[in-house]
């Protein structure tokens, strides 16, 4: 294996640059290194001004999402040796505004995520004396896959519709809406239905399927969105044909 590998990293300084550019760094190619290790090496030894987000370095926090050779990846879970002999192009997550270097502005995702009410919605609160909500393993299995989401937004970077349509809510938000809708303890599906079935909320999705490929936690947001479309459609017909029936 070669001794070193070249990284091409996006640099953008809002104080002085009007557009991003690339800077090359030569880093050691260690068998057990991930891209995040290489970036930290650059920051420690070569260029302290390189700015990027990371936290847990083990693929559970969702902070270190970046484009590695054009594909959205968690840099703490992407081995450097896979890209030998290089060069490895590291860019900030696609379709998000760039704040500095590899850091992107996430407030659009945060706003859309909050819109789908990603918490348990209850119409009637159970008194404490009645104890906790019980759930069978089968009831858990129905939504468990969607609960694995770590909000890394790699799916947003993979989704061309998100990049093209400002109203599209996006894969993770819809998958999480499904996670709560399918939870037996939740009573909020009609509240979420009103928000999501607005024009373009979910209907912008054309099932490209890249979000599912990019997801590091196998959440399958594309599947969740299609299932949600089916649920929203059945609800649409139900309210059309039996408007007074309880939803």
């Amino acid at each position: 294996m070669a001794e070193t590998i070249q990284l091409e990293v996006t640099r953008y300084s809002p104080e002085k640059d009007s557009a991003p550019s690339f800077q090359k760094y030569e880093v050691p190619l260690r068998k057990d290194w991930v891209v995040l290790d290489a970036l930290n090496y650059v920051k420690d030894k070569q260029d302290g001004s390189l700015t990027f987000r990371w936290s847990c370095r083990m693929g559970v926090c969702g902070s270190c999402g970046m484009m590695v050779n054009g594909e959205p990846k968690l840099t703490c879970a992407t081995f450097l040796s896979k890209y030998a002999p290089g060069p490895v192009r590291v860019e900030p997550l696609r379709y998000f505004p760039i704040v500095r270097d590899l850091v992107v502005e996430m407030s659009d995702f945060m706003a859309k995520f909050r819109k789908v009410k990603p918490w348990l919605v209850r119409k009637d609160d159970k008194p404490l004396s009645e104890g906790e909500f019980l759930q069978t393993p089968e009831q858990l299995e129905v939504y468990k896959q969607y609960s694995m989401c770590i909000n890394c937004t790699l799916c947003y970077a993979a989704c061309p519709v998100y990049g093209l349509d400002p109203f599209f809510i996006g894969p993770a938000a819809i998958a999480l809406a499904q996670r709560y809708n399918m939870d037996s303890r939740d009573q909020g599906s009609d509240e979420r239905m009103d928000i999501l079935s607005q024009h373009e909320g979910i209907w912008g999705c054309t099932f490209v399927g890249e979000c599912t490929k990019a997801c590091p936690k196998n959440v399958d947001p594309a599947g969740a969105i299609q299932q949600y479309k089916l649920a929203a459609t059945m609800n649409w017909f139900k309210t059309l044909l039996a408007p007074k029936a309880p939803r």
């Binding site: 953008y12 809002p14 104080e15 002085k16 009007s18 557009a19 991003p20 054009g70 696609r94 379709y95 505004p97 760039i98 704040v99 500095r100 502005e105 089968e138 299995e141 061309p160 990049g163 093209l164 400002p166 054309t206 099932f207 490209v208 399927g209 890249e210 599912t212 490929k213 399958d220 594309a222 599947g223 299609q226 299932q227 089916l230």
Partner: protein, 142 residues
């Protein structure tokens, strides 16, 4: 958004940093093979439309009498229409195969609490497709 000429950059201030919004190229779908394959998949709708239109034209030729129908069949055998039909057939086949593999994601079938694996749903769709095609072929060829 349509690629706009970049507006003159506003001066940077510490409390209003200038974010850079990368414009999405009109040719975004050519930049990665998966995106290009997606657009090809979407264009299979033209194969579907060709099928509908040609079937209606066939019915129209049928209603106009044996000579008109014979003339229509001769036109169908012309190189232009054969070419178009081959392209439409390829598009239709691509539509069928992509539609079935997408159905594995979109359909959740549960038997006794566990989810049926996607590959079985795809296989089931293909099996049904073969049966339908065989029935139609038998009907038209006897």
């Amino acid at each position: 958004m349509r690629p706009q000429p970049q507006p003159a950059p506003t001066p940077y201030t510490p409390y209003h940093p200038r974010w850079y919004r990368t414009p999405v190229s009109t040719y975004w779908w050519m930049h990665r093979w998966v995106y290009f394959r997606f657009v090809l998949r979407e264009l299979t709708s033209f194969g579907v439309a060709y099928f509908c239109v040609m079937t209606l034209l066939l019915v129209r030729a049928l209603s106009k009498g044996p000579q008109a129908f014979e003339a229509f069949e001769v036109r169908l055998a012309s190189p232009f229409f054969i070419c178009m039909t081959v392209i439409a057939l390829l598009l239709a086949l691509f539509h069928t195969s992509t539609w079935f593999s997408l159905s594995a994601h979109a359909m959740v079938v549960r038997i006794g609490g566990t989810r049926v694996p996607g590959i079985l749903i795809v296989a089931g769709n293909y099996a049904a497709w073969l049966v339908v095609s065989a029935i139609l072929a038998w009907f038209l060829l006897r």
